[in-house]
């Protein structure tokens, strides 16, 4: 039943697109403007998933593999990944769903990301990955096991921190402008109305938790993942090894039609070609993402969303160092941004006010 992976991928692609759920943006905003609005939503997604997953684990209803942490590989790989996602303009998932929105720059980043993840996992650089990640693994898996405490204590801390951040965000300084609406009922709610970051986060957290029983049913001992499935697609395409096609592969392949459907139905799909600078950044970013995620054993989903909900050392270390990598890259590649055409041009004639597109 690996087709459930495809269904979940489509659902999550839809949610990511409509919810504008972008982990790169969530981390980047903290560094660029001090806004914790999306970081709070991301933590809410982890918290929702943690409650559900720890409940299922407690009842022995699911199995979740937690790798022992290889410190240097996870720290270095995640930091690289953080730099890569700023350059590519989206994390691994973000790149998948923006591909479905018609952003050709994201297609390029995706090809380089999946290609280099495969080179690192199965190809020419796999001995290096094995040495850095495989052979350096420690016995440290989850925080609660090493401390000898109940995972629910950590769930409580996470829920507490998330709740406190939500409380901090409650004051809105002014009414936020919205687009005019032309639809009613279900279509309005699903395809037009801006989704609150929290609503999107709850949907992401629930879907990430559902991933465990669905993928367990096919013999896979993990939840959502992007990097290994992406590497597996390339490996299958280049070697013809059909055993690489599993639940995870169908899941990531579902993200693109899911996001396409959401974008198309809401009038947000259009093929958009990047300029030379954006293309070079997409290639560099995709490459760094593929190498970094392979070393770190996951991306912002596999590590920062899923392994964090399992309270693994790998998950939270990756979360922290991806966040730091994003900060450094934002400083060098976003704050220094200058573009010749980015000058405000005075508008004189009333006709010029209506943009014809």
């Amino acid at each position: 039943m690996i087709l459930t992976g495809l269904a979940l991928g489509i659902a999550l692609g839809f949610v990511f697109q409509r919810g504008r759920f972008c982990v790169t943006g969530a981390f980047r905003d903290v560094w660029l403007s001090g806004s914790k609005r999306w970081l709070t939503a991301f933590l809410l997604a982890i918290a929702v998933q943690a409650v559900l997953v720890q409940g299922l684990l407690g009842q022995d209803l699911i199995v979740a593999k937690v790798p022992g942490i290889a410190w240097a590989a996870v720290i270095g790989g995640s930091f690289m990944f953080g730099i890569g996602i700023v350059l590519a303009g989206g994390c691994a998932t973000g790149t998948y769903y923006r591909s479905g929105e018609g952003l050709i720059g994201s297609w390029i980043a995706l090809l380089f990301y999946a290609g280099f993840a495969s080179i690192m996992k199965y190809g020419a650089l796999s001995p290096f990955t094995e040495q850095a990640l495989g052979e350096q693994r420690t016995e440290l898996t989850t925080i609660h096991e090493s401390l000898g405490i109940s995972p629910w204590l950590l769930v409580a801390v996470l829920v507490g921190v998330t709740g406190w951040l939500i409380w901090q965000q409650r004051v809105s300084p002014q009414k936020v402008a919205r687009l005019e609406t032309t639809r009613t009922g279900f279509a309005h709610l699903l395809l037009e109305r801006p989704w609150s970051p929290y609503a999107s986060a709850v949907a992401v957290g629930v879907l990430a938790a559902i991933a465990f029983p669905l993928s367990n049913a096919t013999g896979r001992e993990s939840g959502l993942g992007i990097t290994t499935p992406s590497a597996n697609i390339v490996n299958f395409l280049t070697t013809g090894d059909v055993t690489k096609i599993d639940w995870g592969v169908l899941f990531v392949l579902g993200l693109i039609p899911g996001s396409y459907l959401a974008a198309k139905l809401s009038g947000e799909f259009r093929l958009r070609a990047p300029d030379a600078k954006t293309t070079v950044r997409a290639i560099a970013g995709g490459t760094i993402m593929g190498v970094g995620a392979a070393l770190a054993g996951g991306c912002t989903i596999g590590n920062a969303l899923v392994q964090t909900a399992l309270f693994s050392y790998q998950g939270w270390t990756a979360f922290l160092f991806t966040f730091l990598g994003v900060g450094v890259a934002a400083r060098f590649f976003i704050q220094t941004h200058r573009r010749a055409g980015a000058q405000p041009v005075p508008v004189t004639t009333p006709d010029a006010l209506v943009r014809t597109n």
Partner: protein, 106 residues
């Protein structure tokens, strides 16, 4: 395909619908000069980054028309304007994945 068409139909012809944004806020100062910033083709977060840079040069009361085509900015630009206390005098979708928003410097 009819289900599909029904859902997308209301979007057609929106480009010439005129200035009918729902959240038009009262302007605190008199009529100022209008400026246009074309960020079409720029991926997020650059439309917002460029808007922040551009509005610095404007005088209070001046309006900045920002044309953009990255989806995320439909969330980030109005939230930035609200947090900065700048009224949004126009906000429309002008075509598939194309938007325009007018932010008044206050």
């Amino acid at each position: 395909m009819s289900f599909f068409k029904n859902l997308t139909k209301p979007l057609l012809g929106r480009a010439d619908a005129g200035s009918t944004a729902t959240a038009v806020l009262e302007s605190p100062v008199g009529e100022g000069q209008k400026y246009r910033l074309d960020t079409v083709g720029q991926v997020c977060p650059f439309p917002l980054v460029e808007a922040k840079q551009a509005i610095k040069a404007l005088a209070p009361g001046d309006e900045l028309i920002i044309d953009f085509d990255c989806t995320q900015a439909t969330d980030s630009i109005p939230h930035w304007a609200a947090a900065a206390g700048y009224p949004v005098t126009n906000f429309q979708q002008v075509g598939d994945a194309s938007w325009t928003i007018t932010v008044q410097k206050a």
